[in-house]
Amino acid sequence: MKKTIILILAITLLSSVFAYGDINTAYRQGFVEGYLMESIDGRLEIETYEGEFYSIRIADDAMYTIDSYFVNASNFMPGMEIYADLQGRRVVSVEGYSTSSLGYIPPGSKIRTGRIKNIDRNQLVLELANGEEVTYFTMPGTIALKNGKNVSLDTLYEGDKVKLYFDEIDTDIISRISIEGDSVRIKGLYKAELNFVDRYSDKITISNVQKLSNGKWKDVTHSMTIPYNKDFPLYIGGHEIPYDNLKYYRGKTVYLASKDSFGKDKVERMVIQNQYESTYSDKIEDINWFTGGFELSNNRNINFDEGTIVIKNDRLVDTYALNPNSDVFVVADGRGMESNADIVYVLNEDINNSNIGQSYIYAGRMDRIVEDRLELKDFFVLEENDWQSFDDEKELFFDNDTDIYDLTNNKKLSLEEFYSGNYAVDEDSSYARRRNLKDWHGYIYTDGDRISAIMVQKNMDSLLRQRVTNGLIASAPEEDNLVGWKTKITNARDWSSNKSQWMEKNSNISINLEEALLIKEGKQIEPYELKAGDRIYTVRDDFYSKILIVK
């Protein structure tokens, strides 16, 4: 008997020595990890990564998490990889792992909405609704949409409102941009006397209403009621006032910048006149950012502040969009030498909306045309609104999508007709001399070195007579029996080469479109496709527009 007991004791002791390394490892190290074998029901059945099986009791107050989220025990599925903490021979916490794509969001589901504060090639500085400024980046694959249509990124302006879509949570590379359509544009600047304020519907009634037109205030109506956007602050003399106090300014003069809101005017920004008005149309010579003021060419110093309404390319921008050499129309408010700008309206316009755009306008003699390219000789480029001549050759490329127009014969040309026609010849060859052929000339609108649209004509125009004008189409073009398509431009400004300044016209100007290469969104369009209110940039020879770009 004694022997038997000793034998059993010895076997038991020995067996525990043999088995110790297996069954007690987990208890010794205080955790176990591996695959869950059964649904959790009071016990944890687990196969470790090493292939050992454990069945361990779970404490009543054990914590269950899956990917750090607190869950119930029933959320654990057999086969799941788990990690369990042990205290003694009890499980006190179980963590499971399930998510395969960590930190995943559906592509395009991170969205930021705001106003473009600055554009520098692939960098966009966005001002968010809460005033925060963030820099995002575009990539070649970034999709841009405007008015529901896919557009090129160079349509973006500073001051545009955009919705940016991102594919990952911590990326600053934009996958898609939706750009607000024409509703972003400031359609009218008004000066009026404040009459009623309706805080229930956020509307004001104003009287003696004048609208800025061709650089002057013009009477529009005696009285009108117009809703306002209460999200923008209201200012007087640089001080913000709450809209609740607007009623105390009845009888005062207000300046309003209005937008089109679903077919009706709506005040986007409002500033109350503090003292007396003076207006200037001049170039900014210098800006002092420290004191918040600028000096005009006429040596007049004007201060600006947060309440100043700054409009550029018909978009509300902040004062940082101003720069020396901006040509501006200023409505100043003050007395004597002290004055504050209530409105600064920037007159400048360029072929490109920002430095993303690489569009150029060339004019010149076409020396050689082959299947996919042409060579200009002694050409001109429109640079800062002036024709600059180059004694050089320039190679430009075209493709099936290039719009080609023969102005002399008034017809659209196919690619084959263009390169196989006699538009560029060897003038010294006997073939050309016999037929009296000369090189033709062209006006060319390019995107980089790629021709978007070209208009060719037999003889060269005198470019010296031409000048650049920007403004708004006053009314849809009409086809006149005698002169053909024509239209009027309002709020027009001519570029003065002498003064290097945009000079405001004080009345509408007429232009004829019969000899014009009309461009919209990089494509040639027909005159009837121009609409009233389109912003345009045109090179014209007096009455005749030669190139007209819809901005």
Partner: protein, 508 residues
């Protein structure tokens, strides 16, 4: 008898599903206010604005709703065009309540025989077939319902029918989608619908033989975007009199308006029919405002708020009955308790604690077992018991453990943010686990609050301090929590409207 009526009310409340709400009238892009309806009709190939009156009648039953639109004799706004439009269409929506998922499915169809007749300058278009299907899914979240739907339809008109013959057929294919939300503070539904016009039309040539016909067929597309929106807002109104017991107070203003936009691409119409080359492309807008509705709110008179940074926020919430302290002192700078905040969020989102609970309690028989609180530290008799119970039931807030709520414990920012985001139901839109928020103190965020804090930053409810910290474990004072609640209300009033209306229509 009283008991039976009460029982009946309780049952009706229990089985009545949440329905679809402020929605644009019909599906042709029209807008209306209390007395006038406007729509642009493209069936002749030219945009013509029709104006007139519309009768809408809505009948709701337990799980269905019938909407009847009756347009009587609309006429073109341009008086040089002779025309008329009459239309009668009844729609029925069947609701399938999936309360297990907190969602409702609405299936909309046309019932009865729809009629429509458009006459423009002597040409008649008479509706002979209308196929229609629309389906919505409504996610019923505690503070707001969010919904989205899809619609497809086809209208077929006879052109100038006479007896069994006609000059042709106009087929309008309609496809689109709608999105919307509805809460106590506002409701918006925006529809974006594409219409494809396919007109096959041969008219007898004037002065020609009987068989000579003129082809007036054309194709064109129109996209309409229309948004019906209602918002509630608070405005402060001064007291003009000096000798009054109070200075001024808040007014709740309800504004509703419908805005619409049509983008069209049609052939240029000439006297002898459509131009084969030139197109007429353009945009037309419509908008109609309802007269605002105003409601005065009670006047707060706390003695300790004058000049406090959160004075306006606290007064607003008090006016709305979100806070209902009877004391003269609000004591803004002491910590907010968990139970007070739960109560405030529930009251601010107008989630009424289930009325039937109160009714049931009064109805409870003496021998019935008394209600048992789920938490040991919140008695059923406690002032905020119903709010806590509702908050827990709706998933807005959880106990500290299964049995403990700790009602009077101070509220942390992480807890407050989590409560608000759960009330909106947005926490499920956070990324899959394993991400970091962009806050500098991301490591401090408790794991249960991470999704909510991420979403709160996404929707602009919170932003980092000067050092880009969210300070999740800081205790929130009563003043700070008031500011957060007011921001939550602004989100329900304005941010949602902007997201569902301007941010859709202006960018498309």
């Amino acid at each position: 008898m009283k008991k039976i009526i009460l029982m009946f009310i309780v049952i009706t409340m229990l089985i009545t599903p949440v329905n679809v709400f402020a929605a644009p009238p019909e599906f042709m892009g029209g807008v209306n206010n209390e007395y006038e309806y406007e729509e642009i009709v493209f069936i002749t190939g030219e945009p013509i604005k029709f104006v007139g009156t519309m009768d809408v009648s809505i009948r709701e039953r337990n799980d269905s709703k019938t909407i009847s639109y009756r347009l009587r004799n609309l006429t073109p706004e341009d008086k040089s065009i002779e025309g008329s439009l009459t239309r009668t269409i009844n729609y029925e929506i069947e609701y399938e309540d999936r309360s297990d998922k907190g969602q409702t499915i609405g299936q909309m169809s046309v019932t009865g025989r729809p009629t429509e007749k458009i006459v423009i300058n002597g040409d008649t278009f008479s509706l002979k077939d209308y196929q229609f299907s629309k389906s919505d899914v409504i996610d019923n979240r505690p503070a707001s319902d969010f919904y989205t739907g899809n619609v497809t339809a086809r209208k077929v008109y006879d052109i100038n029918p006479s007896g069994r013959t006609s000059e042709g057929e106009a087929i309008v294919n309609i496809t689109g989608a709608s999105v919307g939300y509805e809460n106590f503070w506002g409701a918006t539904e925006t529809q974006i619908i594409d219409y494809t016009y396919d007109i096959n039309w041969e008219t007898p040539e004037e002065g020609g033989d009987e068989d000579d016909t003129e082809d007036r067929s054309w194709q064109g597309t129109v996209t309409s975007q229309v948004s019906d929106s209602m918002t509630n807002e608070l405005r402060y109104s001064d007291n003009e009199a000096n000798f009054s017991s109070f200075n001024g107070g808040y007014v709740r203003i309800t504004n509703s308006d419908i805005v619409g936009e049509y983008k069209y691409d049609l052939p240029l119409m000439r006297k002898d029919g459509p131009d084969s080359k030139r197109r007429d492309r353009g945009v037309k807008y419509l908008s109609k405002d309802m007269a605002p509705n105003i409601e005065r709110l009670i006047v707060p008179k706390f003695r300790d708020l004058g000049g406090h940074w959160a004075e306006e926020h606290i007064n607003k919430l008090y006016s709305l009955d979100v806070f209902d302290e009877v004391s003269d002192f609000f004591v803004p700078d002491v910590p907010m308790s968990r139970e007070e905040f739960t109560r405030a969020v529930i009251r601010a989102s107008d989630i009424r604690p289930n009325q039937e609970e109160d009714d049931r309690r009064t109805l409870r028989r003496r021998d019935e077992e008394p209600e048992k609180s789920p938490f040991i530290d919140v008695s059923t008799e406690a002032k905020n018991y119903e709010y806590i119970k509702n908050g827990v039931e709706k998933g807005i807030i959880q106990g500290i453990s299964d049995i403990e709520f700790r009602p009077s414990e101070s509220l942390t920012r992480a807890q407050a943010i989590t409560v608000i985001i759960r009330a909106l139901g947005f926490e499920s839109k956070a990324p899959t686990p394993g991400y970091s928020t962009s806050f500098a103190d991301d490591r401090e965020i408790p794991s249960w609050a991470k999704d909510s804090i991420y979403m709160a930053q996404e929707i602009g409810l919170v932003k980092g301090d000067n050092l880009n910290r969210v300070n999740p474990n800081d205790v929130l004072t009563r003043a700070e929590s008031s500011a957060m609640l007011v921001r939550f209300l602004e989100f329900l009033e304005e941010d949602l409207q902007r997201d569902y209306r301007e941010n859709i229509i202006l960018y498309n």
